[in-house]
Amino acid sequence: MEIPYTSQTRPDTGLYNAKVGIWLFLASEVMLFGALFSAYILLRVGAPPGTWPHGWLNVPLGTLNTLVLITSSITTVLAWVALKEKNFGKFKLFHAITLICALTFVGIKSFEYRDKFMHYEIQLADGQIADGHFESATYMDQTSTNHTEHIEHRFRGISYTSVTPSATNDYSLSSVTIHGHKVQAHMELMKHANHEEMKEVEIPGAAIKSMQNYGPWHNTYTAIYFTLTGLHALHVIGGALVIGYLWLLGGAMWKTDPERFTNRIEVSGLFWHFVDLVWIFLFPVLYLL
């Protein structure tokens, strides 16, 4: 006996199996992201006044990403409509755009992530704080005290809690150059800094007490930002993989069972719309508020 209602709808529910399945799965995803949003609210409300950052994210890029996802949402729907009209070529066109949008989104997100990893907060020995984007660092070779080597670093790792000679490479940090500014108190960093104030700041190694970049470890804002957007990005990638798979290899099933294939496009489309929905909330919450 075959499993019924894989393509046909069941008369009393009016649904086919995969549609019920995907909505149930999306319900569980609502609870997943809902829990993370609840965590966000709790952490933010629980933060002492003035300690929650504002303006740390690039609003134009975030807005662009929002428009990209919204566009991919309509192309997803139009791809399904095209199949309903038996127009396979149009389906291929619209979902190609969807996939390009997905790639664009992930690309922009990667750029934003990298920007955070290159942004350092440097506690200075005199109590001031230098904050800005990493430009270059100079290291001194400990094995021969007079020999200084200048190394241009693109990506240098997580954090320096102390700047004594480390066991690896026998190099000690001689100086760091950042594109940023110096502030007197940590609270000043919580607000979006003016671009006009940014300039090249060179800090001698001896003046550095500790140094940390804006990764998830930096504070609870970056922690929840990376977790929320990271999980979301994984869902974007997952959804793109499924749609990509159907786009590439769908021709075969379209020929043998077009209704079933159309349903698969509808179901994967529902997942994609959900991914867009999550971003519709993520964007204002993380970028604007």
Partner: protein
Amino acid sequence: MSDHDSHAHETHSIRGYLFVYFALLAGTGFTVWASYIDLGHHWNIVLALVIACVKAFLVATYFMHLISEKKMIYSVLALTAFFFVGLMFLTLYSTHDFPAHTVTH
């Protein structure tokens, strides 16, 4: 076949989809613009969330076809919404309901 009929009216409203699309774009622009205006801290939050809810409603109702969906799906989503709200508000309430005279911050 039955599912052709149930979807028939959606396939004809490409105009409808485009309308939703532009509404979403406009909503995005509006929410970014509004974020630069100081309405008082709490009202900024309320406005941003209201706009987000409207956009989400449009995507769910029209792109995800919830407007013509079946009762079964509505029930599942209503249940989910109830529990999500419960989780969020009860957790927040629990961490902010202190005995009298408790000192915070």
